[in-house]
Amino acid sequence: MKRIFSLVLVCLVFLPAGLFADDDLPPIFAEGEGGSSTEEEFDLLTLFGEGLTFVGKLDIWARYYNTDDNEFGNYNEGRFLVTSRSGNTKLELLGIINAYGGYDAQFSPDEFDWRLDRANVSWFTDWLELRLGRQRLAFGSGYMFNPSDLFVQPSMLDPTQDDPSSDALLTTFFLGQISGVNLIAVPGREIADGSYGLRLYTNLAGFDLAGSYYHRGAYTSELDAHFIGFSATGEIVVGDWDGPGIWCEGGLDLPYDPDGDDEVDSTWRASAGMNYTFTENFAATVEYYHDEAGGEEFVDYDWMGLMGGERFVLGRDYLFANLEMDLSALITLSAMSMVNLNDGSLMTGPMLRFNLSDNVEASLGGFLFLGDEETEFGHGEIDLGGGVNIPAFPHMAYLRVQAAF
């Protein structure tokens, strides 16, 4: 009887307490003396990301095009990145496999291709880094447009994807934590055809500043060029109010005829942008771009240059905007738009992105291209030759799945 009474008493006292206890949580203070960090087994070789790593990514886009025949296409990409770091040396290999199908296949000579996009080895000390081999030379800080970058240009449909890398030697002298000097050498098939440059970067009064000079061999088949670039990134601060992040970037091409005295016009391009995070889950980005080499009117547009990858856009002046809102930790809604300010045409692309698991994301979205008949994003046509014309920018809807492993 005494035992039963004790049991009931224990239950009465501890059961309610148990209901309100944080059962799943560890205690506030760990039991015992704690410990010393020296007692922990640390593998110094893996402490700062050393060793061999592999990351594979699959990017599958199924696309519907609103053409007369309502066509379907797909663009698929596999990325396989291997890095190996040992001491002061790092090896980086990135292989990319592309496969195109349906409507998308007509823009590529092969339905299937692959390239070794990065293959470089770098060696570094506290004050020097040498990187030799195929590498990305991406220095600009703009979101959509990077006019100070000579060697990469983002994709219009996805600014996180860039053009192929360059075979180069990049030498960096570090002058403190956020300052340095880059020496860039991108030799062509012949040394004289290469591009060679110097870039200085630092941070002053909270602004990341960079200035660069390149000599561009074989700017065209007849011309060489000097190129001067700059970029600045920072923020507007008024009192203790942190205003928008701002940036600007520019590049000036000064072509010259190495064999003659012909006068050649220079061209410049520049971008300026700002972004602001309104709440923890909502941010907006706006960017303006001017390219003096772009066409002011439809008849001046270099469609073949666009198809050949020599041009990123056709007009002179653009306004880009992107809104991004996290609807939850796993769902993001975004909408990007780009207006050709010369002809008033518009490209706009809403997207809903779902994080399906730790390594799988799915995106549902589309692009609408709006404008008059003879405008960049309007219903112009591209002449592929042989009497074949295709709509330049048909409306598009897509389902995209990205998986990492």
Partner: protein, 247 residues
Amino acid sequence: MRYLTLILALLLLTAAAAELTGKEILEKIDAVFTVDSMWSGSTQTITTPEGETRSFTMESMARDSNRQQLTRYLTPQSVAGTAFLMLDYGNDIWTYFPDTDRTRQLAANARNRSVMGSNLSYEDMASEADYAENYSAEVLRQEEYAEADCYVLKLIPLKSSSSYSKMILWVDEESWVTLRCDYYDKGGELLKRMRIRDIRYIDGTPTPFYYEMEGLQDGSMTEVTMTKVRYDMNLPESLFTTANLSR
């Protein structure tokens, strides 16, 4: 008589302790993390209001009492290699994304953005060692919380750019570790709650091996568990550079 002296001494000590100002308590909190350098490995698990979970592992390095921090995601593969560098207690932040191989400076107004969809913002991750500089503090009361004697403080951000209107802290009077922190949004509503557990003394420094941040307005939760911690490794400044983000 001896007992009377002891009791008086205890009372005097208690009175002296009670007279600590809010700023003095903040300085004691900051002093806890005054370590030359620190390296840690951790796992972070986000639980959505619907019960879905996402997990990350990362390594973090800090030096000069957390004035300089570098964090790199190790898994999952989708974000492996993504890294951010915070200098001057997070007043200057650079992010690196391996897919584009670009390093970008993060504007100050973006410090209140959620990091990788978690309940933690860059502001949360940067401010933990610099309370005295960034907040004014008022001692509300002393009370027991989680079996520990605590000061309860009200903190008001000195910068209007902070995403919080105020924070209420429960600070352990013995270890000076913040055991709980309630964050209030700009509208004065309770936004999220951080709770710290599993405090271990590593080299004499009280080190939380578990903390959670609960989103009280949407029911989400982020839990962080330290897997390894090491102090005073003489980490050189050259590790805390934008160049090292990509290595």
